[in-house]
Symmetry: C2
Subunit: 208 residues, 2 copies
DNA sequence: GGCGGCTTGTGAAATCATTCACAAGTTATC
DNA sequence: GATAACTTGTGAATGATTTCACAAGCCGCC
């Protein structure tokens, strides 16, 4: 398979959300044009994105909402649940651990870790904050799929190195720092300061 | 000025962070090559990014850390503080309002809004949660620069429409929904579900 | 079963972003 | 002040992504 651009994958994720909405509204078919309008893109883009993976529509008609939904779930690897662990039980880690939207989309938070003795043992819902000292053993035993990093920036690289040597291969980092990982590890960053600076740039350079 | 790509602006933001680190380590000059290595890019990319805005280095030497820092601050519009309001005092809104990293980078959270009577009036630090009913009046009076959206997805579009008609021109949205805004409004999205789905795709389609 | 109105799937073209490659400038050294 | 060792700034080349444009296929209707 040809390498798929990151931008394509992000759009597939959007399309899937629109399809789920469309199901809720009882729509049975949808055209590339409708899909495009909701995502702020073009119908040609939608069709090209899908064409990397096969041919899912009917000419003259459009796409079957349930069929395309299923195909996108398949493509994105969402026909199974994923086990997610959260490392760093601070303000943002806590908010994420309690967020119900992830579970709804098939991402189950199965453990939260911290190294602060005051936090270890705290419970929310079904989760208890575990001791960071146990993380390697737990990973080897429970094989979580994805680790979310919510420690302070100074700690993030050290923690990542531990996670990677324990076997983690997919990471979502919230610390505002550029982490180094080996090439077989997939790393995504959520960097809010960078987004705000993007807004600052846009406000400053308006109408140039 | 030629239109600047979003990817360029994001990298400038990264470079700025490395420069600040370099200042802390007492470095006086830095080469495009060092800047590139920390950001996972190439030295040609760094020089090209900067060249859109002028010429900041000395051939044979590199860039003066304090001078380039100052130039990037200028380019990104960071020589001033920005007033930020947060709309939706739920789990994620609260985490963001209390986050000290924003203030450190010149983004001052000056107000938080909610429509739930149980939340209105709550205080953290110097902030009191205000009544959503007052937001239009406050915006006209206080002219905040950036609004961060942390309401449930169902409410997000309605809230955005209110913010935009009250005069907001820069928005950072956390709700997992694609918002419609007029062309003179800059909108950025932080969509964690999309990032997780990107990881799911990567894990599923490894080594193809 | 043929026609008109739609919509997909996809090469080709156009646009946009990154990388290459090198002249030109800087510093240090002798 | 000539030489060597570096490093920038930037056109040109390459590579990637998006848009165009249209043949091919489907449906409903007469
Ligand atoms: N809070 C926000 O809204 C926000 C926004 C953007 C980015 N971030 C980033 O997210 C990260 C966390 O922010 P926060 O506000 O939740 O901070 P926080 O201080 O509330 O939480 C950090 C937690 O990590 C734990 N920790 C520290 N070192 C650890 C280690 N080696 N192993 C395991 N746990 C460790 C701490 O005990 C603490 O509980 C930071 O990097 C921050 O910059 C936060
Ligand atoms: N919590 C997370 O970790 C997380 C992660 C990713 C995305 N999100 C998204 O962020 C948003 C907020 O999530 P949350 O977990 O903080 O939810 P929450 O329910 O804790 O908070 C939402 C808040 O918005 C307020 N609100 C509702 N309608 C409003 C309106 N019209 N005007 C003003 N305030 C209004 C509610 O009273 C509530 O306080 C959601 O869209 C969610 O999908 C949250």
């Amino acid at each position: 398979m040809r390498r798929i651009a990151d931008s394509t994958v992000r759009r597939l994720s959007l399309y899937l959300r629109f399809l789920e909405e469309s199901t809720n509204r009882g729509l049975v078919t949808i055209s590339s044009d409708e899909l495009a309008r909701r995502g702020g893109t073009t119908s040609a883009q939608v069709r090209k994105d899908l064409s990397f993976f096969g041919s899912f529509g009917k000419r003259g008609l459009g796409y079957s909402v349930p069929e395309l939904t299923e195909s996108l779930r398949e493509i994105l690897g969402l026909r199974r649940d994923w086990q997610v662990i959260i490392v760093g039980a601070g303000k943002i880690g806590t908010a994420l651990a309690q967020y119900r939207g992830f579970r709804q989309r098939g991402f189950r938070v199965t453990a939260v870790y911290d190294r602060d003795p005051k936090k270890i043992g705290t419970r929310w819902d079904a989760l208890t904050v575990r001791d960071m000292a146990e993380i390697e053993r737990d990973i080897q035993k429970e094989h979580p799929d994805i680790a979310v990093l919510t420690t302070p920036a100074e700690e993030a690289q050290v923690v990542v190195d531990r996670l990677v040597s324990a076997g983690m291969r997919a990471l979502l980092n919230f610390a505002p720092i550029q982490l180094q990982v080996p090439p077989d590890v997939t790393l995504k960053n959520v960097n809010m300061a960078m987004e705000l600076e993007g807004l600052s740039f846009a406000l400053t350079n308006r109408d140039r």
